[in-house]
Point group: C2
Chain length 534, copies 2
Amino acid sequence: MSDSPFVPQMFAYDSTLRDGAQAQGISFSVEDKLKIVQRLDQLGISYIEAGNPGSNPKDMEFFQRIGELKLKHARIIAFGSTRKVKAAVESDNNLRSLLAANTPAVAIFGKSWDYQVTDILRTTLEENLAMIADTIAFLKGHGKEVVFDAEHFFDGYKANADYAMQSLQAAASAGADALCLCDTNGGTFSSEIHAITAAVVARFPKVQIGIHCHNDSEMAVANSVAAVQAGARQVQGTINGIGERCGNANLCAIIPNVQLKLGLPCIPPESMATLTSTARYVSEIANATFNEKAAYVGNDAFAHKGGMHIDAVTKNPISYEHINPELVGNARHILVSEVAGRSALLARMHRVDPTLGKDSDETKLVLEKLKELEHEGYQFETAESSFQLLVRKLLGKHQPFFDLHEYKVNIHEPALNRMNSSVTIKISVDGQQEITAAEGDGPVNALDKAVRRALERFYPAIKDIKLTDYKVRVLDSDQASAAKVRVLIESRDQFEGWTTIGVSTDIIDASWRALIDSIEYKLVRDQERQALTA
Amino acid sequence: MSDSPFVPQMFAYDSTLRDGAQAQGISFSVEDKLKIVQRLDQLGISYIEAGNPGSNPKDMEFFQRIGELKLKHARIIAFGSTRKVKAAVESDNNLRSLLAANTPAVAIFGKSWDYQVTDILRTTLEENLAMIADTIAFLKGHGKEVVFDAEHFFDGYKANADYAMQSLQAAASAGADALCLCDTNGGTFSSEIHAITAAVVARFPKVQIGIHCHNDSEMAVANSVAAVQAGARQVQGTINGIGERCGNANLCAIIPNVQLKLGLPCIPPESMATLTSTARYVSEIANATFNEKAAYVGNDAFAHKGGMHIDAVTKNPISYEHINPELVGNARHILVSEVAGRSALLARMHRVDPTLGKDSDETKLVLEKLKELEHEGYQFETAESSFQLLVRKLLGKHQPFFDLHEYKVNIHEPALNRMNSSVTIKISVDGQQEITAAEGDGPVNALDKAVRRALERFYPAIKDIKLTDYKVRVLDSDQASAAKVRVLIESRDQFEGWTTIGVSTDIIDASWRALIDSIEYKLVRDQERQALTA
């Protein structure tokens, strides 16, 4: 599986694509999932629980395609449940799907709380133990690595410790490779997690013990760490803690807590500095608002506002920083325009011109323009493509693809038909004029259609652009209807995805800027691809 | 101070207005602060650390006005630091401001980490102890209740336990009423917090021990709870955990954790059900995005998505809920239209018609319409005024103030002048037509101006409306330029503030709906006020 010499001492087990996908508003396409798997593998995650083939048949395509990926670190896990009450494992559809997913490892959840067996599952305590044992023995017989997820383990242990332990014993005797203790409802305190995990570790010294926490008491990270301190060596969680209700345990905080502070390596040391960018990448794909206050990876995590704090941090960072932010690929906020900021910027500028130096006039020019634009409300962290275009323009390397002469937007209420907005646009390309018009469901939609129609005659490749996301944020909202807005547009073609930005007090103008950057970026990239193959 | 018989066993100490206000993007006006103080007092918070009069002179007006409030539970605390190195307490400007704030209690922070004394403060270890002792003795001499905040206590204890304890001893000997242990950098683990707090409690059995955590390792809530388990009886934190970097410890999770699970009352039992609305209220005033995944108080905290979970929760809520959501004034999400949801709804409908019954046809009608609108993307939790108008309309109690015949929006790029948008609008009031036009910086701004101009002739009071906030959220962002958007508008007049909502695929239309609700709500409220005084 892995040709890397790195051996983790704690196994990071990511469930972003399975338990994380249970969160409200989260929905991953097959493409999204494949991208996330690759990124998590690059980070050095040990296990990726990628889906539940039994409950989600459309995952099957994904499991087929995942088999084709060459992964460096991660083992892929398909997730399912124990066999049905009083049924045979051989004829269980869920288990059949699990095998069909063809992963090296599987995770099986089963009941360990007596009340859940008798009142929810409505069967006997003995039958539940048989369900666990039969299922695991069956999967071991098919050569799988098997993780047993003991659902509601801590609530179960507090209600009936003996039965909870029996459920683990049934799994261990049937050959389970790991026993994972789940705080399914997220209500358990760290002190209890520590004590109960320690009891399990003492009882099963030869089996890997895992921990799976939820954040309903805002203690999932501390609970996971407490379990590791008690001897657990597999930690389940999700990137950014996404998940049902209040979320799952957040691997982006657990991994640095365990690796940097407890000294137990989870991911290759050289990957730790990609943690911040990985967190942001997954958040973007999940179309979730990134928590800028997130521990370790948020933009504010090492930002200093109080004057006294800034002074002390300048004297010595340990005054107000618990770790060096560069360890996790983050940066001190007050130093964003200083040395560290400039190196990062230079790396991005090198994609346009690899010869640029750290102190060259061009670098200074970009830095200054960037500051000015950020002050206006631009934010290029997530809009790399607009940044690349900006650098090209500032370095004199950009040839505009068209000239805009004018556009006019008309909105009519009541609408004359379902489309209440119309746009007239006049552009020219190499002296050839084109005037056209389009109707839309709202002015942005009409403008989008009109500009594409006008340009397609000259650049047929524009047809391949698909706008996949459109986000609006009001910046200075106390300015009410005259407030400044920031528009982010995500686009795709058959090759890649890209994000562009526009800022203006006028939402139509902000959208226009992001739209034009999207089209120009596509055309620039096409030229680059042609140059490569020419 | 308090005429309530409630005696807390753990003192909740809120620093939203002091340490919370250090967060990026947070800025409270005097009015904001007074509103938050009153709301926290209603919740039953024991101490409210309201500001730092020495570092922020404009806080003085606030401290004067706060003296006039009648509070039921809370003691107000002014925050400051120990006297300067080698200076006299009597002539210290910071201490003079603290006394001038005229609060019953003060909090003083001082150094307890030897390295901070020698390398940041750059003085001797003895002088630092004298600074602590002198300052506290001085304030006790002026009759103040004094909390000593031992900055960096845990880092200090790990570096030099003896000196850290000496700093507490200096404060205790000088008469400090409470010793608060601060994890200033937020990097300490729960196990360490527990052990060190227990050592302090054993050393100072007669002084109240406090805990002040930051969330840099995403463990602030668990750390605070661990300190309480070790004997701390004062917990400092902020509402929603707002604060510098990754935030302060979140009182909205700590209070229910400690009160409902450890059985130590912090706030009056009858106040616990207002926790969710308090969290939302403070978030609105702070103009922060509310975290819907927040433990206990978030909208998703008791939301169930997985079919299996819903089934089990329906059989018995403890299957997937760690507490009954009603205890903290929250609700199970799948049951929003059931009994609990209906009672809350009825309370809001009673503001329009106090005679409505729980099972009346009108209630059912509102419930159904609400479901339909929420499905479309409306969210009335924060737009109470639009909800009130909706109820009035559905109950036939609303007389429209005007008829819209049409509006036309024209946007021209390049702009003919700085104002690129113009609007023509035609309305009528009681058969009298008015047609007018306005230019604006963007179409929403132009529309806002035009409709006000058209209506002011009939309703001069519209001049008093000030739009104070404008927010846009894209709902189904994968629909790109045809996505649905939700607009929230906040307005004020001389009497009050109100919030209205509009949803549409067209941002102009969504803004129009929110704008019109804002104007109509103002006119309805004016009528109500006239009826009262008539």
